[in-house]
């Protein structure tokens, strides 16, 4: 796993965003802060002269590289916000959320962090390379930012006009037409909204996301966004509360939401709330293999684009291998010891390094 956060001893440091310019002869990272218009040095060594802006005595710099954008704080914390070498960069909008999903991998916090992250993201967008291929937007629930969410989308459209933008949202805000309309006005054809739908029966969806009325809002949200020409992806997390109605949900999607351009069915990440709700959620993927196959082959047969995320090839029926994607973000992806003997390891997405539990049925596939 890659360390996205570390800490050293701060010297003359105020909070700022810095971009790594180059690595000097002694292996220190020479960075530049546009807001301070000054150079900042990141070093593993002992503090040098005090007139520099330095964070010293950092345990390791190996996970930072040229072009990376880092947030540094007066207490010496360094957080990686953008990694040049990664295809999985995201803007983090907020820890707040209006849902409280049973299996949330990054549980919401009830903090008022909207202004703080908005400021950071406004700067970060301007510092990103203009030829960036992909950028995610995530939270919490990004649309909680309200009109400033639209402002961020406008900034992105201005500074990153050719970047594919993937936004993770529960879509509930789009039940209000004016929100969907405001997004249309941003006029960015590279935005894709990934919205989860966990059941075709309102009560199950509302229970899973722990929010009354969420199902109706999400469905209306899908329709409003489609009406305003937005690109949509539908996401389903596979667990004990969703597997039974999976074939019905697939049919519901085709009949009621056939305009979604991609459907992702995702294995559970065993972290965040999930361990706490393990009894309600956890099941071996082999136990839902039939339902998964029925849903995937139906959607595929009807001409919709389907992917399976986060599930290892050894846990899937071979008929579904062609739908499996290497979906786990690079910084939290790994393989188990067992995987080293597997003939398909190169095609497999591996497991979540962040998961505290993996399937007991992960087995190397012989040639």
């Amino acid at each position: 796993m890659i360390q996205l956060r570390t800490r050293g001893i701060p010297i003359n440091i105020t909070e700022t965003l810095i971009k790594v310019s180059y690595i000097n002869a002694v292996g220190e990272l020479v960075c530049f802060s546009p807001s301070l218009n000054k150079t900042v040095l990141l070093s593993t060594g002992v503090p040098p002269l005090e007139r520099h802006l330095v964070i010293a005595a950092i345990p390791s710099l190996k996970d930072f590289g040229i072009g990376d954008i880092l947030l540094i704080s007066p207490n010496g914390t360094i957080s990686s916000l953008f990694r040049e070498q990664s295809a999985h960069n995201t803007l983090f909008i907020t820890d707040r959320c209006n849902s409280n999903c049973l299996m949330c991998s990054q549980p919401p916090k009830n903090t008022d962090d909207l202004d703080y992250f908005f400021e950071i993201n406004s700067q970060l967008i301007r510092m990103l390379p203009p030829d960036l291929k992909e950028l995610g937007i995530t939270g919490g629930e990004p649309t909680i930012l309200g009109s400033r969410f639209i402002t961020l989308l406008e900034l992105i459209t201005e500074y990153l006009p050719n970047t594919a933008i993937h936004i993770l949202t529960n879509g509930r805000s789009f039940a209000w037409k004016n929100v969907a309309q405001a997004i249309q006005k941003v006029c960015n054809p590279n935005l894709v909204f990934g919205i989860p739908l966990y059941s075709d029966y309102y009560q199950q969806h509302d229970y899973i996301v722990q929010a009354k009325g969420a199902f109706n809002q999400t469905i209306l949200g899908f329709h409003n966004m489609a009406r305003y020409g937005q690109r949509l992806e539908l996401r389903i997390v596979l667990h004990k509360q969703t597997y039974k109605r999976l074939p019905s949900l697939a049919k519901y999607i085709f009949m009621n939401l056939p305009f979604v351009e991609h459907i992702a069915l995702m294995g559970l990440e065993y972290t965040g709330y999930t361990p706490k709700n393990s009894d309600l959620l956890w099941m071996e993927p082999s136990e839902y293999a039939d339902e998964l196959e029925e849903a995937v082959s139906f959607l595929d047969g009807m001409g919709l684009a389907v992917s399976i995320y986060n599930l290892q090839l050894c846990l899937l029926k071979p008929s579904l291998w062609k739908f499996a994607r290497k979906s786990i973000s690079d910084w939290k992806q790994e393989y188990l010891n067992e995987c080293s003997r597997c003939s398909l390891v190169a095609e497999c997405g591996g497991v979540f390094a962040t998961s505290k539990k993996h399937s007991g049925k992960i087995k190397a596939i012989a040639k």
Partner: protein, 498 residues
């Protein structure tokens, strides 16, 4: 800073907390139909269905379904019942309904031009009168053809199909040529998406004709009734054997225009009824991947030759089922071969999309999606309407090609016919469980029963379609798991990958 509302919200609650509060569920509009000894199908207002045990509709109506039944969730999710008289997601239903009926959005697309009544065949089931090959007065005049094409461009539809029929339209190739060229000239201004189709018996191709077809990507639609003995019996041609000429014509057209530019239609006669398997095999041998097991229409010569053609609908249905069964078996063995009528109905049952098939839709295809410009300059509501006209019955004549567009397409005749073109408002259809998948056909009912509205219990249209749709549901119920991948491949017109 902790937000005040949050603490309680972050406490997990059980499923019961998320159940909507209401005492008794409300019914949304739905209908039902028995499909076999054990099952009935429930169909809601937008064509979504559930196959359930017989008696379920009664239980639903008696508010007998319990919340802990799996069926309860299915009924709720598929908009059969609701917690409110008007459900929260009514807008979604409205969008679904609008989508299903969106074949109406663009108005007339298919414009049929009968460029000549002359023909070199004398098929006993011919649905239009024909005359010998050399009587030019049965060709459309250039003046009328011009006016018809100008009307075609007045259609609001962004995509139009110009179909040449006859007789044998290629006996009046000069008219076809003029028609295509004039349409293309006008299209420089109108910029519509045009498809050209020639319905021909494929026995009169010349190099000039085929080169012209190639240049303008004209689709060839021809007639093939099955094996040689059957085809020649159905489609006699003086002085020659039709079958070999058609096969030669099909191959010649394929070579020059490309495989997918040539299609064939078969007509079922009394004789055909005995040979469903042979007909299908013949289509496969000749390189087709689809067939339309089409019943005969009660028009034109088809009615006069009653002995040969007035077989009972039941016999046709047997033929259809036998053929369909065989085709399904072929598909199970890995052959990609499609039955077109089943596919049209499957699209209506299994997809949320509009299915524009002019002979089975509501409102009917007449005027809304198709219009016919006859060789004599008169305009008819459908292809069948002009066949009646050849027998002296001008009921469905909308006007003359020289009349203005409004008076033809929105005139008194059109308005009169509109009373009978929606099955939602026809006696016997209005409450039929299969209504969403069926259509209205006032021309058929007028011709067969002398009544625009029609009398359902003895209507061949009704008996045929209800039984075919019921049969398809029966198949879905008894063998759905194996059939769905095959049916999906038909709907999407692409072979399954193995």
């Amino acid at each position: 800073m902790e937000l005040p509302i949050a603490k309680d919200f972050r406490k997990f609650k059980g499923p019961e907390f998320y159940e909507a509060e209401f005492s008794e569920y409300f019914l949304l509009p739905f209908k039902f139909h028995r499909i076999n000894d054990e099952k009935e199908v429930l169909v809601n207002e937008v064509g979504d269905f559930l196959i359930v045990p017989i008696g379920t509709a009664r239980r639903i109506a008696s508010r007998d379904i319990q919340k802990d039944e799996l069926l309860y969730e299915d009924l709720f999710a598929n908009s059969f019942i609701s917690n409110k008289p008007i459900p929260d997601l009514i807008d979604v239903l409205a969008t679904r309904y609008r989508t299903k009926k969106s074949f109406l959005d663009d108005f007339t697309a298919l414009h049929i031009f009968v460029v000549s009544l002359r023909c070199n065949h004398s098929c006993h089931y011919c649905q239009v009168s024909r005359v010998s090959e050399n009587r030019q007065e049965f060709d459309i005049s250039i003046e009328d053809l011009t006016s018809g094409i100008e009307h075609m461009f007045r259609s609001p539809s962004p995509s139009i199909t110009m179909e040449f029929q006859g007789g044998e339209p290629l006996l009046a190739f000069d008219r076809v040529k003029f028609g295509v060229e004039y349409a293309l000239k006008l299209n420089e201004t109108f910029k519509k998406d045009i498809t050209f189709v020639v319905c021909t018996n494929a026995t009169v191709f010349t190099d000039e004709i085929l080169e012209f077809c190639k240049e303008h990507q004209i689709i060839i639609s021809t007639s093939l009734d099955g094996p040689e003995f059957l085809h020649n019996a159905n489609r006699p041609k003086s002085g020659a054997k039709s079958y070999q000429m058609v096969i030669d014509g099909i191959n010649r057209a394929r070579n020059q225009l490309g495989e997918d530019q040539v299609s064939a239609l078969m007509t079922t006669t009394s004789l055909s009824l005995e040979y469903p398997i042979e007909i299908i095999d013949n289509y496969i041998e000749n390189g087709f991947s689809n067939i339309f097991l089409r019943p005969i229409s009660p028009y034109g010569f088809a009615l006069k030759n009653s002995k040969k053609n007035r077989y009972h609908t039941e016999k046709y249905l047997e033929f259809y089922k036998k053929g369909l069964k065989y085709i399904i078996e072929l598909n199970k063995q890995g052959v990609f071969f499609v039955e077109d009528y089943t596919t049209i109905i499957l699209k209506k049952i299994l997809t949320p999309f509009p299915v524009s098939y002019v002979d089975l839709q509501s409102p009917a295809g007449m005027i809304n999606n198709v219009v016919v410009f006859n060789y004599d300059g008169y305009v008819y509501a459908t292809d069948e309407s002009r066949m009646l006209a050849e027998q002296g019955d001008f009921t469905f004549r909308l006007g003359h090609v020289k009349d203005n567009y409004r008076s033809i397409f929105y005139g008194e005749k059109a308005r009169f016919l509109s009373q009978y073109w929606s099955n939602e408002s026809l006696a016997g259809c209005a409450d039929c469980g299969l209504q969403s998948y069926c259509g209205a056909d006032p021309v058929f009912h007028y011709a067969a029963q002398g009544d625009f509205e029609g009398y359902r219990p003895t209507s061949d249209f009704c008996i045929k379609n209800m039984e075919i749709i019921r049969h398809i549901f029966d198949l879905l119920d008894s063998d759905g798991k194996a059939l769905m991948p095959i049916f999906n491949s038909w709907i999407n017109n692409r072979p399954r990958y193995q």
